[in-house]
């Protein structure tokens, strides 16, 4: 078997394994969806009227539209926490030691986790999006191309956050530690332009929200779905994602190739 077909075959076996875990334990993934869905409902029905003041007093449905892109990316952050946990669990159990002594493509173990995680993330985003549509979200003016770009951006963000989460899972000695270490992936969107525009934040805080990866990604997604100004945020978001993905990949690969303890 040529090395490329070995990579494809072993990796798809590992992806199937990852998806099998979701099928056997859907609660694992669904629990992680709870946070973004609850936040969505909370911010629309409880805080919606008040929060809309921050975006020019446009009302509840306008705030829902403003809020959704940030929540969708937060959904990814939340899903990949599950990835960190499952990578960490995997590494501490004997099964990965078994994989290491088999004549399989070595990288397939990580590729399985990564592809599985990206698929889970995208599916989660679609689910949260569906909830948003159910409570009244409409994107009137997005073209098919913009939808496609939005989908691509979501996938890219998922890939970037997944690789970081895989590394976090690998340095964590157990599932609890992995869950804690991956917490920034949920907290970062909270301090971005997801809930209120940067202009509504105090001056000293604004740079923190502005110069972090979630804000340009959220602004780009918002622009694609709602037709707001994207500007430099598009390339910035892509650069952030590629940078994080490459960094996370190199980090994870280094960790995986070390001799196990």
């Amino acid at each position: 078997m040529s090395s490329l077909s070995l990579v494809v075959r072993d990796s798809s076996t590992m992806v199937r394994r990852s998806l099998l875990h979701v099928r056997r334990y859907p609660s694992l993934t669904l629990n992680l969806l709870l946070t973004p869905v609850v936040l969505l409902l909370l911010f629309v029905y409880v805080f919606g009227e008040v929060m809309s003041a921050g975006i020019g007093d446009a009302g509840r449905s306008a705030y829902l539209a403003y809020l959704l892109p940030g929540l969708l990316l937060m959904t990814i952050g939340s899903t990949v926490v599950g990835t960190a946990v499952s990578v960490s669990t995997d590494m501490t159990e004997g099964i990965v030691a078994r994989f290491r002594t088999m004549a399989i493509h070595r990288g397939s173990v990580l590729i399985g986790h990564v592809v599985g995680s990206v698929l889970r993330s995208v599916a989660s985003v679609v689910l949260v999006g569906a909830v948003a549509v159910a409570v009244g979200f409409r994107s009137a003016d997005a073209t098919a191309l913009e939808w496609l770009a939005a989908f691509g951006l979501v996938t890219l963000v998922a890939l970037a956050l997944t690789w970081i989460a895989v590394g976090m899972g690998m340095v964590s000695p157990n599932a609890e530690a992995a869950s804690n270490n991956a917490l920034p992936l949920i907290v970062l969107p909270l301090v971005s332009s997801a809930f209120v525009p940067l202009e509504a934040m105090p001056g000293w805080f604004r740079p923190i929200a502005e110069y972090q990866p979630f804000t340009p990604a959220i602004e780009t997604l918002r622009g694609l779905l709602l037709g707001t100004e994207i500007g430099h945020n598009g390339p910035l978001a892509v650069t952030w994602c590629l940078g994080l993905a490459i960094l996370g990949h190199l980090w994870s690969r280094y960790l995986f190739n070390r001799d196990p303890k």
């Binding site: 199937r16 030691a97 002594t101 001799d259």
Partner: protein, 331 residues
């Protein structure tokens, strides 16, 4: 304390059977703690080889190195003819490993675990299903095949573990303490599995803390202590190493005891309990000669016992009698 029968790769003259596993000068240390201090091994193809030693002797480290899980600091090893340092993938294709801790995916069912192995061995779907069904049946797991592996008992997990190891038809199998934590029945089942494997031509390298197990299963045994091989040979050769075999005569009459001690020169005396110990291999011929000498002197012992050395004697003689932590032995 290297023994006189250290006949590994250095032996000249007699032709050696092809080795399934051979190692020379394996070394491994973590920080300044030396775990392996130069290990030489020669495991003939189609045999069972036991690495016997107390906790911390380096058994698991040896298996982890030979199964390509971790690298050695120094030394060279061939597994199924492949250098594990330069062509690990080729070695991996020939081996099966069952580690000390269960290497099953607890989230999926026993059957799914087996099919996962079949996929990773690139078997066709049909072949994979066939092998899976066959092995699950053979290891008495057919009824539990649809249950998540995390719900299995310790013995079932171990059986699933071995069944998964066998999926690719490995030529060399490493079993790290395959019966630790199993109840006596499960242990005997495991022994049966190992014997069956060897009849099929597979080479098995196992580690164990149990002398009985090494004696029962292994064609050759290496006693590992403090990161070195203290002795290596067949169980019988090892037993001959220690002077544990003797005939024990006990007397109640001090006069009979004294005349027996005169008749049997070379016997170890225990004057307090009126016991004589005569070194012996326990053979019929030696026993008869002892009895003849007693008869001709007209002495009758009150009790006669024959004690042959077992691996226990070897083990305790070689490893210093206690579960010595390796730090004390290594530099």
């Amino acid at each position: 304390m290297p023994s006189s029968i250290m006949s590994t790769s250095k032996g000249k003259g007699c032709p050696q059977p092809p080795a399934a596993v051979s190692a020379a000068g394996l070394r491994k240390s973590y920080g300044d703690k030396t775990v392996l201090d130069g290990i030489d091994l020669h495991v003939p193809a189609g045999s069972v080889f036991a690495l016997l030693g107390p906790n911390g002797a380096g058994k698991t480290t040896t298996v982890r190195i030979l199964s390509t899980l971790i690298g050695a600091d120094d030394g060279r090893a061939l597994v199924a003819g492949h250098d594990i340092a330069t062509s690990p993938q080729a070695a991996r294709a020939a081996i099966g490993v069952t580690g000390q801790f269960s290497a099953v995916d607890g989230l999926i069912t026993g059957e799914e675990n087996m099919l996962l192995m079949a996929d990773l061995h690139h078997l066709s779907r049909r072949e994979g299903r066939r092998v899976t069904a066959e092995l699950l049946e053979r290891f008495g797991l057919a009824d539990a095949a649809g249950k998540p592996a995390s719900t299995y008992s310790g013995g079932m997990k171990r059986r699933l573990d071995i069944a998964m190891t066998l999926v690719g038809d490995p030529r060399v199998i490493f079993l790290d303490e395959p019966t630790t934590g199993l109840d006596p029945r499960a242990r005997h089942n495991m022994w049966g599995v190992v014997r069956e494997l060897v009849t099929g031509g597979t080479t098995v390298l196992l580690t164990t803390q149990y002398l009985e197990e090494a004696d029962e299963l292994a064609d050759r045994v290496a006693v590992l202590a403090g990161g070195r091989i203290a002795a290596e040979g067949t169980p019988d050769e090892l037993k001959r190493l220690v002077s544990g075999g003797h005939v024990r005569l006990r007397f109640t009459d001090p006069a009979a005891y004294r005349s027996a001690a005169l008749a049997l020169r070379g016997a170890a005396r225990d004057d307090d309990s009126l016991v004589l110990r005569i070194p012996s291999d326990g053979s019929q011929r030696e026993l008869r000669s002892i009895l003849d000498r007693l008869d001709s002197a007209g002495i009758e012992a009150d009790e006669l016992t024959v004690r042959t050395p077992d691996l226990d004697d070897v083990f305790f003689a070689l490893t210093g009698g206690t579960d010595q932590p390796s730090e004390e032995i290594s530099r």
